[in-house]
């Protein structure tokens, strides 16, 4: 059911364009970027210069890509200075072409009323292994649980679904999958479901 209709202008012949998330600092078209969100992004860039990349600035949504070594520092800055106080959601996205697994934190704020519409998207990437041994391979990231307490169950979920081990997370046990699950982490792209 996937690619029967011929697509209109071919923007992406390859399935994923890794470059567009990683290395386009600001959107090409400079038309009326939302003011508040622009300021927010500028504050972060001012502090961390080249260590963060602003992937996009949309109304109410700012996305920053960070390296895995800097994420804890950036998260602490976001919590202490910019008043983001909880994580709404933590999602993993698998990019087999880049050999990377992306972990995306959606941060929000309850205490700061000016930020109540905003979601700050903090993304980082972990190395991806062809033959994963969850917990014992190079797919590791520093845990943000000490910074944002609310990521606890989300990170546990990511660990079992993608095999990304969170260093410093006190409770990396299994959460949703059956106890005897011995297959690949199911949300990775190379885990095929029945009949597909």
């Amino acid at each position: 059911m996937s690619s029967d209709s011929d697509n209109e202008p071919i923007e992406t012949t390859s399935d994923v364009t890794p470059a567009s998330t990683k290395s386009s600092p600001t959107p090409e078209k400079e038309i009326e970027l939302p003011k508040f969100e622009k300021d927010l992004a500028d504050k972060i860039v001012e502090k961390f210069n080249t260590r963060v990349k602003v992937a996009f600035v949309k109304p109410d949504r700012v996305r920053i890509n960070v390296g895995r070594d800097d994420i804890k520092e950036v998260a602490e800055f976001l919590r202490d200075v910019l008043n983001f106080d909880h994580a709404e959601s933590v999602s993993g996205v698998d990019y087999p072409q880049d050999k990377e697994i992306e972990v995306v934190y959606h941060l929000g704020s309850y205490t700061d009323s000016s930020l109540s519409r905003q979601i700050l998207v903090l993304a980082t990437r972990a190395q991806r292994e062809e033959n994963p041994i969850p917990g014992n391979d190079a797919t590791k990231l520093p845990s943000l649980r000490e910074v944002f307490y609310s990521v606890e169950f989300h990170e546990r979920e990511i660990f079992e679904m993608f095999g990304v081990y969170f260093q410093g997370h006190p409770d990396n046990r299994r959460l949703l999958l059956p106890e005897d699950w011995a297959d690949l982490p199911p949300l990775r792209k190379d885990f095929a479901i029945k009949g597909r």
Partner: protein, 378 residues
């Protein structure tokens, strides 16, 4: 996977005094999950929720279906709140495809979403009643919610699984004469739910069982990232319908309910107060709705996103903020769909609330979290 118990929150080392109890999955007070509690006498020392009994891999399945065929199965996690769980997904797909929704469709969505919120809350209230051993409180809400289910059935054609919201609007226009019937039923419904105060919310037995149990302070509610009624019962005024209005909520007249106590009683009262606000919203929306017009933008078959793009949309569901993160790579199928659901986010509060409580208070605290295990597991 290691079996070693982590420090801090997790279960303590077992000595003679402490007994481990499995509550669920077959237990009248657990729902579809297991809660492992350790008790010292009658008091809970530690608690470890074990969800996942209904983990069906919705997110994986969504990567193999196109944007439209995802709709029926993405609403299955909460079939009695199916309009609200589809809402962020549909909003996200609309943003990805760049669709503008007709005005009348927006009002129909708001009405359907509010009706559905009431249907969900009534079911939750019924279960909360029966968990506390209050049989009348099971029968009354379970009977009254059928009124609204009738309305939704008229509107969408199905009792609970509506699949009514589609990218570009809603599937069907309202049936003839719907506005009058809706107004009448909603007015009756509002009168009816006010009577619940007498048998349930002012009932001294209920107050004795729920007041001052499982207190969640304001700071903890924020720190744990709870949402919805749990958050608002702890004194944080955060309702996405006000804070980040989607569709036509901006133009409608309602208020959010906030209580300061943070105990089970406050948490159980907020959804009930919300239902009255929902009735107000429905009445106001029926009044302001354009009387005619299109309700759906026709889409091309197999719509695709434009290149690599991601969108995060959220709405206020019956259980709190419900977010949907969609990553598209320009194919007819989404690259990744993640549902960030209120139940899963509130679950993290359970070990904190149960620590130090009596075991008998467990159902009162657990179900006051407005938790629906099927949704949390996805």
């Amino acid at each position: 996977m290691t079996n070693e118990l982590p420090p801090g929150l997790a279960l303590q080392k077992v000595d003679e005094r402490i007994m481990t109890l499995n509550v669920g999955p077959q237990h009248p007070g657990s729902g579809h999950m297991r809660i492992i509690v350790q008790i010292d006498g009658d008091f809970i020392v530690a608690c470890d929720p074990d969800p996942g009994y209904v983990h069906r891999g919705e997110e994986k399945m969504a990567e193999y279906r196109n944007y439209i065929t995802n709709i029926p199965h993405l609403e299955r996690p909460v079939i009695h709140d199916s309009c609200n769980i589809l809402y962020p997904y549909v909003l996200g797909v609309e943003e990805l495809l760049g669709i503008e929704v007709p005005e009348r469709a927006k009002y129909i969505r708001v009405i359907a979403s509010e009706l559905n919120r009431c249907v969900y809350t009534m079911y939750w209230l019924a279960i909360y009643g029966i968990f506390l051993g209050h049989s009348t409180m099971f029968m009354w809400p379970a009977g009254d919610r059928e009124l609204l289910i009738d309305l939704l059935e008229k509107m969408t054609g199905a009792r609970v699984t509506h699949a009514h919201f589609v990218p570009g609007g809603v599937r069907n226009d309202l049936p003839p004469n719907f506005e009058d019937v809706c107004l009448r039923q909603v007015n009756y419904f509002e009168k009816r739910i006010k009577e619940y105060a007498a048998i349930f919310y002012d009932n001294p037995i209920l107050i004795a069982r729920t007041a001052n149990t499982g207190i969640l302070s304001r700071e903890d509610a924020i720190r744990l990232g709870t949402t919805g009624s749990v958050l608002r019962a702890s004194g944080v005024d955060y309702d996405l319908r006000k804070k980040e209005p989607y569709d036509v909520y901006e133009e409608l007249d309602f208020q959010t309910n906030v209580l300061k106590e943070g105990d089970s009683y406050a948490r159980s009262k907020i959804p009930w107060l919300d239902m009255m606000e929902s009735c107000r919203i429905i009445r106001h929306a029926l009044q302001k709705m354009p009387k005619s017009g299109s309700v759906r933008v026709k889409l091309k078959p197999n719509p695709k996103g434009k290149g690599l793009d991601s969108v995060y949309k959220r709405v206020e569901s019956g259980r709190g903020s419900l977010g949907c993160y969609i990553v598209s790579d320009g194919k007819p199928e989404p690259y990744r769909v993640k549902l960030s659901v209120g139940s899963f986010r509130n679950l993290i509060a359970l070990p904190y609330l149960l620590k130090g409580e009596k075991l008998g208070n467990m159902p009162a605290v657990y179900w006051s979290l407005n938790y629906w295990p099927v949704e949390a597991d996805r």
